[in-house]
């Protein structure tokens, strides 16, 4: 129970930064180098780097929201379903706003996206409410919400993908962005913006501090006057909102609302957070770490694809490397437990 003391000085102010930052980065460098050596030349091309970053966006944004949840000591299994729900809500809202036929105006997609995000935030709020007020473990609450949101998505979408008119949202995830000076897809910029936001919120705001405190020791937080249920609800609502944003990006990618989208994505998202230094028992985790975790997973998928190995070899490889990425962190940072 007595981990090695950290070096004195500046670094110690955010003990979680070290744990959540450097280890995963080493893991990332490791997998990138691995494929750069093993893989075909195109792996190391700029275009491929842009492809990988774009492929990180959806899981990455979901992981940012999940970081709040996991740092607070909870878990959210409904993320995948919420992403699907968000694509469908966005698509349905867009259709409702633009009426029948015709391309959408510039405002409609924005409103539709907000609708998608709002619905997911509401679902997250509900999960949080039940977790915090009725004290059912979040694993079960969100497992229920996972089914409910999936059902809602299918119901809204009439069990089919929802077609939408052409609109600017659909360009948000192009690897070659439309105004070329953007360099990266708008979705990537969104993810980076959110990353900065979440990092600041977690480290420099009272809310962030409280989230860490709740995850570290909820009992203590309560005794210190932290509004534990209120914060928990906010955390899950935030997680939902981020899943909603991930869903909007998913919609941008698919250009349709898809009620079966992102099945099982929750595990990718949680893995990203944990690879990035988050602890499932709460109190640890960082925004940057989670994004790095999501990047590691995207690099793995892309690299394996580039190698052109059969699917089963890829699966075995990805499984092994996920474990190794976390292992590197542990070896670097052994705990005495």
């Amino acid at each position: 129970m007595r981990p090695a003391r950290q070096p004195a000085g500046r670094f110690r102010f955010f003990p979680f930064r070290l744990r959540g930052g450097l280890g995963p980065v080493i893991g990332l460098v490791f997998v990138v180098l691995l494929f750069a050596v093993l893989g075909p030349a195109p792996f190391s091309s700029l275009y491929n780097a842009k492809t990988i970053v774009t492929q990180t966006v959806i899981v990455g944004i979901g992981a940012l929201g999940m970081t709040f949840v996991i740092v607070s000591g909870g878990i959210d299994l409904s993320v995948g379903s919420l992403v699907a729900l968000s694509t469908v809500v966005t698509a349905v809202a867009l259709n409702a706003l633009t009426g029948s036929g015709g391309a959408a105006g510039p405002a409609a997609p924005l409103l539709a996206a907000l609708a998608g995000i709002a619905v997911c935030a509401a679902c997250g709020f509900l999960s949080g409410l039940i977790t915090a007020r009725l004290r059912v473990v979040s694993f079960i609450v969100t497992l229920g919400m996972m089914q409910i949101a999936r059902g809602l998505a299918k119901w809204l979408g009439r069990e089919q993908t929802v077609m939408t008119p052409v609109n600017w949202l659909q360009k948000a995830m192009l690897v070659d962005p439309e105004p070329g000076w953007l360099l990266l897809a708008p979705g990537v910029w969104l993810m980076l913006g959110l990353l900065a936001l979440v990092a600041v919120v977690l480290k420099y705001t009272v809310f962030g501090r409280h989230v860490f405190a709740i995850g570290s020791n909820a009992q203590t937080a309560r005794l210190c006057g932290v509004n534990v249920p209120g914060r928990r609800i906010a955390v899950f609502a935030l997680g939902g909102a981020f899943a909603g944003m991930a869903g909007v990006m998913q919609y941008a990618n698919l250009t349709v609302g898809d009620p079966t989208a992102a099945a099982g994505m929750e595990l990718d998202v949680i893995a990203a957070v944990v690879i990035g230094g988050g602890s499932l028992s709460g109190g640890e985790g960082s925004a940057a770490g989670s994004i790095v975790g999501a990047l590691i997973m995207a690099v793995l998928r892309n690299g394996c694809n580039m190698l052109g190995a059969p699917n089963y070899v890829q699966e075995i490889l990805i499984g092994a490397i996920i474990v190794c990425a976390v292992l590197i962190d542990r070896l670097r940072n052994p705990r005495t437990v």
């Binding site: 091309s45 077609m163 070659d176 990618n253 898809d258 099945a263 694809n305 052109g308």
Partner: protein
């Protein structure tokens, strides 16, 4: 690394073939066909499906990765008729032609569409069941999965055919889904059979749902008592046909689909004109026709090389 897909180089052109998944015997046959075409053309065929079956996002990423890898052409069985439009467009923008197989895709970015007429397959099944039932009876259709376009078309074709069959046909359940795997289909079918004591005819629109339903009929001791028509074939289903437990299977020609897909892509690369729609045909297998040469040829395509 090695250079790939560079024009004029000695290396053969790389043609990527992207199935919807890799685990049905249907896709095995597509793979075999594609490889055969590759051998004939002297082209490298890269076979790569999405990691998770039926995940549109995964398939989009596979397409994106092939664009990154600068293959010469892509042969794609899209999981969705709309969602795959942007990546296909991106491929075309980067000078990679795309041929679509199996399921349709919106827009006109692709060069050719090589596939079964799914609605026709569904109608064929309906006609078979109609004959067996003599135009009267209670019929159950167990759907495959939400949002799957090709099976939805088969289901629609089947319903259309049943409607034409007569007013004495009662469709007692058409809104249940089997799900992606055999075992999910099995449970759904079990519960359906428990719910309806009296069923005269059953239709399932693909391999896994047909196999799940077959097993449910067998375990309930009702196999053979109910007229059962399914889609696609594998060893288990063929055995059931011989045992009189399945009374008809719509057969596609996946080998030909893979073969023609790659051939068409190669012709596009050479600048030759190609037809925008190529039908690979569908025929009905019944206990009577199971041993005809045409069916035998379909059932035993040359094996896929082990990757």
């Amino acid at each position: 690394g090695r250079p790939s897909g560079e024009p004029g180089a000695a290396a053969p052109p790389a043609i990527a073939v992207i199935p919807k998944g890799t685990t049905h015997s249907f896709w095995k046959a597509v793979h075999a066909g594609a490889e055969k075409a590759g051998r004939e053309l002297g082209a490298e065929v890269i076979w790569q499906g999405p990691h998770k079956e039926d995940d549109r996002q995964m398939q989009i990423q596979v397409v994106q990765n092939f664009i990154s890898r600068r293959v010469a052409a892509i042969v794609l069985a899209p999981l969705d008729d709309q969602a795959l439009v942007p990546p296909v467009q991106a491929a075309v923008n980067r000078g990679i032609p795309v041929v679509i197989i199996d399921s349709g895709l919106n827009g006109d970015a692709y060069r050719s569409f090589v596939a079964t007429d799914n609605a026709r397959g569904g109608r064929l099944c309906a006609e078979r069941l109609c004959t067996l039932l003599n135009g009267t009876g209670k019929v159950v259709m167990l759907r495959y999965q939400e949002g799957s376009a090709s099976t939805a078309r088969r289901e629609a074709g089947f319903l259309e055919g049943m409607a034409a069959c007569g007013t004495d046909i009662e469709l007692i359940s058409t809104d249940q889904y089997a799900g992606a795997t055999i075992e999910k289909a099995f449970q759904a079918a079990q519960n359906l059979l428990n719910r309806f004591a009296e069923i005269d005819g059953i239709f399932c629109p693909n391999e896994s749902s047909t196999q799940g339903m077959l097993r449910a009929l067998q375990t309930a001791g009702r196999a053979g008592d109910v007229y059962f028509v399914g889609f696609d074939a594998n060893e288990t289903l063929l055995k059931a046909v011989r045992d009189g437990e399945i009374h008809g299977l719509a057969l596609q020609d996946p080998f030909r689909m893979g073969y023609l897909g790659v051939i068409t892509a190669a012709r596009v690369l050479k600048g030759e004109p190609v037809a925008p729609r190529i039908d690979t045909g569908v025929i009905l297998l019944t206990p009577d026709t199971i041993d005809t040469p045409a069916i035998r040829a379909l059932l035993n395509p040359p094996p896929a090389p082990d990757a």
